[in-house]
């Protein structure tokens, strides 16, 4: 099976043999890829029981828990090389706290999230007067888990505030491709961002 491009990009940022924690690991696609292609060891944290079953089926280590409690309850300081969280920053209750937790538990963090500053979102809000609905944000405002949407610029401001150093950033579209335009005007043209950061 072809790996989603964002997951492909993430795995290139992870050194072989690393110890990785995947927050909201879903059915374990990334962890399985990391294990099979980069000899990575680690654990996934996942709340959905069917995803937990899928991870167990794939022979992965998965801990059934929500992110907030799970991180605090189970993991000591500096116990991982990398802590990954894909497409979950916008659904958690305390994203700022979670980002700092990721760097308490791990040496490096990697997050991906949808860009609320994409030109389509801006247009829908500015001209249409509606909350944006897009390919990366497909649900209407009353029926979405996304409670903490942000733009790339917002995220980078947060990192500055928290003394977090951004090591790498890649910006892609909904199909996880990148282009020259996105590299030049990421906050306007990028739909999904992938950040690697550290203390």
């Amino acid at each position: 099976m072809e790996l989603r491009t964002d997951l492909q990009l993430i795995s290139e940022w992870i050194r072989p043999g690393s110890r990785v924690l995947d927050l909201g690991c879903g059915d374990g696609t990334l962890l399985r890829h990391l294990r099979d292609s980069r000899q990575v060891t680690g654990y996934g944290l996942e709340l959905d029981p069917d995803n937990v079953i899928a991870c167990i089926d794939a022979g992965l280590n998965v801990i059934h828990s929500n992110l907030d409690d799970g991180l605090q309850q189970y993991f000591d300081d500096n116990s991982f090389d990398v802590v990954v969280m894909t497409q979950a920053l916008q659904v958690v209750h305390y994203p700022a706290w979670l980002i700092t937790e990721m760097l308490r538990v791990g040496r490096e963090g990697i997050v991906t999230f949808p860009n609320f500053g994409h030109w389509q979102c801006r247009l829908q809000l500015a001209l249409g007067g509606h909350m944006p609905v897009s390919r990366t944000l497909p649900n209407p405002w009353y029926d979405t888990q996304n409670i903490h949407l942000c733009t790339f610029r917002d995220f980078e401001d947060l990192c500055r505030q928290k003394d977090i150093r951004i090591l790498e950033r890649t910006v892609v579209d909904h199909a996880h491709r990148t282009s020259l335009g996105m590299r030049l005007l990421p906050n306007l043209l990028g739909e999904v961002a992938i950040y690697r950061f550290t203390r």
Binding site: P49, C55, Y74
Partner: protein, 382 residues
């Protein structure tokens, strides 16, 4: 002729007995010079002898985990939901061994069997055995069956504790441990419940210091009370409410102390039927084994240090409404395993049935169990 057993049952099974002459040194310092273990097996041991599964039973369990002893049996073994062809512990792939623990009352050497030194029943002279002792005796049985390494040791509740102890004490002899609805040690509240149960038995006038066999009596009231109390801790407020509520047996209140509420009737029935099938001395002994269980105790009360001894992979499962060994207790085990850098998966199953849920056919639970056991089977070439 109609097929007497369901197709996903192991069907008719016959218990086996193994005698051991090599003395067993117990944690207490006492020695069992010789003993018998009664056990059942389901499925076939493969040529590589790599597909052995050990089932460890809980407080009131025994070796009869699956199948039927006769076509007339109304009920199958206690873990029929999990063991059988195509079930999580798939007898088409695994060779399953289920043993009655030392001190039990279903055929293995225990208080209700004769002491060869005296010819009398052991009764109160039977030494108090611990989870560690059980594991050592089970290891002897494994040797006699030619199983050098279990594909998995599996148990719920007190059975899960044995699986944990196996992982720590015999790291080379176990590839996977499945620890269900267990705890790394008992809490004060757990011990308190056990103590009330024991007091009920010990103060029964028919107990006769444990030598009731010779008197031809049974401490019925005490054992019944112990079971009634225990049973409450196996259920949840929610499941009791759903099953009985405040339903009365008669239409109106009787203003007396007879059985008026359905829940009272149920508990008495549970207590009375338990007396018919269980031994009071064994109940005392099993509750003590629970109280004493504390694998971290041997490692400076450092659970991760104890678990660092283990080299197997772990599946830990708990149930949301279990308050005897609540999910928090399983999370302690998981945390210990994470600190010890062991491979572990953990599932917290949504269930209303309380501690008893581990015996129930809950779809998500069985899916988790099945997924893990498929992986075990693939790994060991079962």
């Amino acid at each position: 002729m109609p097929e007497p057993f369901p197709p996903d049952s192991v069907g008719l099974v016959t218990p086996a007995r193994q005698h051991f002459d090599q003395p067993l040194e117990l944690v207490s310092g006492r020695v069992l010079e010789s003993y018998d273990l009664v056990y059942e097996t389901y499925g076939e041991l493969n040529a590589a002898r790599s597909n052995g599964i050990l089932i460890c039973h809980a407080l009131s369990g025994d070796h009869h985990a699956a199948g039927y002893h006769s076509p007339e049996d109304r009920k199958p073994g206690w873990w029929e939901t999990a063991i059988g062809p195509g079930k999580p512990i798939d007898t088409n792939r695994f060779f399953v061994v289920s043993v009655n623990n030392l001190g039990g009352c279903k055929g293995s050497t225990g208080p209700n069997t004769p002491n060869p030194a005296t010819g009398q029943f052991y009764g109160p002279d039977f030494p108090i055995v611990t989870v560690k002792d059980w594991v050592n005796s089970q290891q002897r049985l494994a040797e006699s069956l030619g199983i050098e390494r279990w594909a998995a040791v599996i148990g719920g509740s007190l059975g899960g504790m044995q699986a944990l102890q196996w992982a720590i004490d015999h790291p080379d002899r176990i590839a996977h441990a499945v620890v269900i609805a267990a705890a790394p040690k008992l809490s004060a509240q757990n011990i308190a419940f056990n103590e009330v149960a024991r007091q009920a038995i010990l103060t029964d006038p028919e107990f006769h210091e444990g030598r009731y066999y010779e008197q031809g009596v049974v401490p019925r009231r005490g054992l019944m009370l112990a079971r009634m109390l225990g049973h409450i801790t196996y259920l949840s407020d929610e499941s009791m409410g759903a099953k009985f509520g405040r339903e009365l047996r008669e239409q109106k209140l009787q203003f007396g102390y007879g059985v008026e509420f359905q829940v009272e009737s149920y508990l008495r029935y549970q207590g009375e039927s338990f007396v018919e099938r269980f031994d009071a001395n064994t109940y005392l002994l099993m509750t003590r084994a629970l109280d004493y269980f504390d694998p971290a105790g041997d490692y400076g009360n450092d659970l991760p240090a104890a678990l660092r001894r283990a080299s197997c992979d772990f599946l830990v499962v708990s149930f949301t409404s279990d308050w005897r060994f609540a999910p928090e207790r399983s999370r302690e085990i998981v945390k210990g395993l994470l600190d010890a850098d062991r491979n572990v998966s953990y599932a917290e199953i949504e269930a209303t049935q309380g501690h008893d849920a581990f015996l129930m056919p809950l779809p998500k639970y069985l899916d988790v169990f099945h997924a893990y056991m498929r992986r075990v089977a693939d790994e060991v070439g079962a």
